[in-house]
Symmetry: C2
Subunit: 334 residues, 2 copies
């Protein structure tokens, strides 16, 4: 595979091209609804998040799902903007830093804005996202997206209690991942199918695609944290370990190490007393137990689930791109 | 007036009695929807807020509005729970402390829970509130409550920028108050009328009542901050001044003092360099300029607006209690 050769466009870039008119409409709607007559600080805070743009994967999922089901109304744009608002609000709230962590001398994640602004502007975007949804006049879609919002918050709270806790299982990890990543992916694709009045079996397949894509994507991300190309991922190797976040590779390594490595994990994860050389030792343990390879197998399996689900949705160029996208999220691991 | 004599029940207590069956149903629904299968920390964090119970003024407004319009379906309970969830989420998010403030040695507002838990559990309650609303099947009500949520967040952001800024006018103060207090009061009463399919003029009157009651209530609160009975209000005299929050009495005093007092306000509010004796000087200035009396006149005026609006809603015992409630919020100032 050579998905990274300069000549070949990546799947999300092809989706961007195919959906460019819709994406422009989403961007315009986001700018319009982000504005605040009374509180100019709101667009100030959100601008760097929304304009930086990212890949807009989530709104593209909604647009693609609606289009491949033949939708030609205006409201897939509202739903795509909703999904992006929820995502941006989540990012802002993730930025909130605990003063206890500050005291331990960690750098602030929110250098640009203070905690209070992050919280309140995030709340504003949440509220705006619900206003956008009511514009569609579709209660069934509102239900899907408010369920997703609850699952996201639940997953984030679960992650709070699960991290630094060596009893965290793969099952709990999966619940956290569903909350922090997959819930919005699956709501994005499901809502796209619903707005197009697609057959319930198609809507279900779109949900399954989004869910499995999200899980696969997050596992891949968690693997790359231990060995990705820092330039490509934008993360430093070992960030999750330093933050004592129990991701899949670590959970597998801890289980495989049994009592032998127990003291090491208790010191570094539970007590958070990390020293020079600890990350190197973690990398050795991950290799010894084959934890990164085993995690990669899981990510590939979820990618296959995502692709298989697409067999139940209408065939189209967009469907092919979604299939390639499921390949792409794990191709990063090669 | 002797609203405080032990023999006579206060208006909100009479509302509590008249609506006790409905309030029990609201309490049961709140406990049910607050639960989280996967994240037990959620009910832990919310229990002390929800069980402490407060006066449940906001949900009572929804129940009373629906009942006095003759509603006998089940969904006023969902809307009352929604309103209480939004209120609780707002309280949790208000608890978030800026690390910069911590560093200045201020006490943490959230002694029980860390910032991160406050944010995420608040998000969970917001999401739950939208799920509750979708249960009612009423898009018009969803629109009213999502608009209120946006106004609340906007008002809170506006307060961030308005506080510590001597250019804050009475107009800006009113916008902040609409956001932080009146928007949820008016959405509570409006939604109650809507779920009962009341005549649009009645729904509008219920909105006006909630809005004016909220503004009156907040102005009264801001006055009591400078001279209330600490035991009754649960606040220390001068908290708003110490937090450099420009409330109506201060805004009036600053305007009346002109250039003469300018340096004092710049030092204490803008620069936040407060010294012993400053609060006493503020109390002297408030008295000299008649700022508390002038604020009280405003609060009374809003209370009259609230009562007048009730002339356009059906007459009933509940309507009388709502009228008495509008008197009660300002009677605290006598």
């Amino acid at each position: 595979m050579s998905l990274d050769t300069p000549m070949e466009k990546k799947p999300h870039e092809r989706l961007q091209s195919a959906l460019s008119a819709d994406l422009d409409a989403v961007g315009a709607l986001i700018r319009e609804r982000m504005a605040s007559e009374h509180a100019p600080r709101i667009p100030e805070v959100t601008a760097h998040l929304v304009d930086a743009g990212g890949k807009r994967v989530r709104p593209m999922l909604t647009l693609a799902a609606a289009r491949l089901c033949g939708y030609d109304g205006p409201y897939h744009v509202h739903l795509a903007a909703t999904v992006e608002f929820i995502h941006t609000a989540t990012l802002l709230h993730d930025d909130v830093v605990d003063e206890s962590k500050q005291r331990r001398g960690r750098p602030a994640a929110n250098l640009l804005w203070d905690n209070k602004s992050s919280v309140l502007v995030g709340d504003y975007l949440f509220a705006r996202s619900f206003q956008l949804m009511t514009d569609t006049g579709r209660l069934d879609v509102l239900k899907v997206l408010s369920n997703a919002a609850a699952t996201i918050a639940e997953g984030e709270v679960l992650q709070l209690t699960a991290s630094q806790n060596l009893a965290t299982t793969e099952e709990i990890y999966l619940q956290v991942v569903r909350g922090k990543t997959a819930a919005l992916f699956s709501a994005a694709t499901e809502a796209g199918g619903m707005i197009a009045d697609a057959d319930p079996a198609v809507v279900q397949a779109l949900f399954t695609y989004g869910d499995a894509l999200g899980v696969s994507f997050q596992i891949a991300d968690d693997i790359l944290d231990f060995g990705g190309d820092a330039e490509k991922t934008g993360k430093n190797i070992g960030d999750d370990f330093r933050e004592r976040k129990l991701t899949l590779p670590l959970i597998k390594a801890i289980a495989a190490g049994g009592t032998r490595d127990r003291a090491f994990w208790e010191r570094t994860i539970e007590k958070g007393r990390q020293e020079d050389g600890d990350l190197e030792h973690v990398l050795t343990l991950l290799k010894e137990h084959g934890s990164l390879d085993a995690s990669r197998t899981d990510a590939l399996r979820w990618s296959e689930v995502a692709k298989a689900a697409l067999n139940d949705v209408p065939k189209s160029e967009l469907t092919d791109m979604l299939r390639d996208l499921a390949d792409y999220v794990v191709a990063r691991l090669n």
